[in-house]
């Protein structure tokens, strides 16, 4: 546990020192603040526009952060050979993976809090109220980012940085297009195609489970137990991916 916390803290300080991460966060905040000034485009539906734009911006920039952080965990340590000195210390490879991931999750959580505060603050300034559903939607995005970071990290245990980034965007796209996959599967004639589509759909994450943007924008009430289900899906999926990443990294030669 000591090693995991130590590695996580180093991961956090390294991430926060990176200009690219700071830039992503700054741009996200700029977009969120800009939304505040463009509500005149949707008269009468300002809060809808703010929520929709805000959650979309947070999802998009959160994805960039998750992919950037995910690919920065293992591959650069091997490319820079910093991992040689690290694994010569009393650190298990599993502890390394968990420490790196824990640090990433902390940075993602911090970023989500910063972006969330800006969004909620904008809404409060505009409307004088804010909805708790918005927080549940933000938590849903956070769980999706947890899965993304784990997936990209897993890919980066055996693939190059570029390949991991491409795979990350691919997983993200498929994860939001699960309903299309299911429709394709229902209309496919070839049994092999059906099996392939069903397998992809079953194995890859379904981010629509964690996406409450439309419900929040339309002002629908979100049952509190949905939060528990989202937590179970997000944490459970990330844990499985992390376990696979740990096994792959354990087999990896350096």
């Amino acid at each position: 546990m000591r090693s995991i916390i130590t590695i996580a803290r180093n991961t956090i300080s390294e991430a926060l020192s990176r200009v690219i991460l700071q830039m992503i966060l700054v741009f996200a905040i700029i977009f969120l603040v800009l939304g505040f000034f463009f509500t005149f485009m949707t008269p009468g539906e300002e809060d809808k526009m703010l929520k929709d734009l805000g959650l979309t911006v947070i999802t998009g920039f959160g994805l960039l952060l998750a992919i950037f952080m995910g690919v920065s965990l293992i591959q650069p340590e091997m490319e820079r050979r910093t991992i040689y000195a690290l694994l010569a210390k009393p650190v298990r490879r599993l502890e390394f993976v968990l420490g790196k991931y824990a640090g990433t999750i902390a940075v993602l959580a911090l970023s989500m809090i910063v972006m969330g505060v800006v969004l909620v603050g904008s809404l409060f300034l505009k409307q004088g109220v804010w909805s708790p559903e918005l927080l549940i939607a933000l938590v849903g995005i956070f769980f999706a980012l947890m899965i993304m970071a784990a997936l990209v990290m897993m890919i980066s245990t055996f693939a190059s940085t570029l390949m991991s980034v491409v795979a990350g965007f691919l997983f993200w796209s498929i994860g939001y297009a699960q309903s299309y996959l299911q429709q394709l599967s229902e209309h496919a004639d070839n049994p092999v195609s059906v099996r392939v589509l069903n397998t992809i759909s079953a194995v890859l994450p379904n981010f629509t489970y964690l996406d409450l943007r439309l419900a929040v924008v339309d002002g629908l009430s979100i049952p509190a137990q949905l939060l528990g289900k989202m937590a179970l899906y997000g944490v459970g999926y990330a844990a499985v991916v992390l376990a696979i990443a740990a096994v792959l990294f354990n087999e990896r030669e350096m």
Binding site: N10, E14, T82, Y84, A85, K89, P90, E253
Partner: protein, 308 residues
């Protein structure tokens, strides 16, 4: 004396993702290093030195055979707690300062509080970086990185220090400083395994040497065992005339004039007679040596056949 490092039939073949025959990097290596010994693994680039070290550190998995440290498997955490490793090119986290790097690694060894601060202060002083402790590593010179690399390897006061290419890329002053530190650790009784392609460096630092070439251990022993006894005596003399040189050559000596002196190379049994001839003819002895081949010469002899 106990064996600190043991390698039995240690073999490593690098295979590509698609299989195939692969590249044999290390072939059936049998080697033991005793407690308190400074052992040098020498060989040209690509001879298998780094592969051997990586196998000992658990960074690679052997294709066959096994490696043990302190009688345990190399990935045993109790082994890692006794181990210090200085990588060949110490790239560290450039967002950290020298002190922060040492603190980070010290925490991984479980060093905390006053003990941690004392150890970090000691090591920064030992490697001469006390005044640069707050400087970010990205601004460190190559020599400073090498020194902080040595400091992090000593954080846990290791019983076994593994050093890869100890003075690689350092200027003569930096190389001398690192060599002096290694010698000091040797005096303290640490077991040291160092790999180098600089044969003279190994000759200076090590008690025993293993010569690796294309993954095979070509020779292993003390410097005395590896270097043959001198087979010739070299006499340098002044004021020798042609008749004296002719008489020396009759004795079987090879004479060569240079810088106003004559260099006479003769078999040890003829040396006394040659000196008598020189002095009898009024020549002056300048120097008399029995040069021993260097490790480099011995190494080149070993691999010459394969190179040719």
């Amino acid at each position: 004396m106990a064996s600190v490092v043991e390698m039995h039939g240690l073999t490593k073949v690098y295979r590509s993702f698609f299989g195939g025959t692969g590249v044999l990097a290390l072939n059936q290596l049998d080697l033991e290093i005793q407690e308190g010994e400074t052992f040098g693994l020498v060989g040209p680039n690509g001879s298998g030195k780094t592969t051997c070290l990586k196998l000992l550190l658990g960074l690679l998995y052997p294709t066959a055979g096994e490696a043990m440290l302190f009688g345990r498997k190399v990935w045993d955490m109790r082994v890692k707690a006794l181990l210090g490793y200085m990588p060949e090119t110490p790239y560290f986290y450039d967002h950290l300062s020298g002190e922060q790097l040492l603190r980070y690694f010290a925490q991984l060894f479980g060093l905390r509080g006053a003990e941690q601060r004392r150890r970090i202060d000691e090591l920064l002083a030992l490697v001469g970086l006390s005044e640069r402790r707050h400087m970010l590593l990205r601004y460190y010179s190559r020599g400073m990185l090498q020194r902080i690399g040595l400091a992090q390897a000593l954080l846990n006061d290791p019983a076994l220090l593994i050093v890869d290419e100890v003075t690689s890329g350092l200027d003569p002053v930096g190389a001398h400083q690192i060599r002096s530190l290694i010698l000091e650790l040797k005096r303290q009784g640490k077991t040291i395994l160092l790999s180098s392609h600089l044969l003279n460096e190994v000759q200076t630092l090590c008690d025993r040497v293993g010569v690796l070439y294309r993954g095979n251990l070509k020779a292993c022993g003390t410097i005395d065992e590896l270097l043959p006894q001198p087979s010739q005596v070299v006499i340098t003399a002044l004021g020798l005339e042609a008749p004296t040189v002719a008489r020396l050559e009759e004795l079987g000596a090879a004479c060569a004039a240079a810088d106003g002196m004559v260099r006479v190379t003769v078999a040890p049994e003829q040396a006394e007679q040659a000196v008598a001839v020189i002095q009898g003819d009024g020549g002056r002895l300048h120097e008399l040596t029995r040069p021993r081949p260097t490790l480099e010469e011995v190494f080149m002899d070993m691999v010459r056949e394969e190179v040719e």
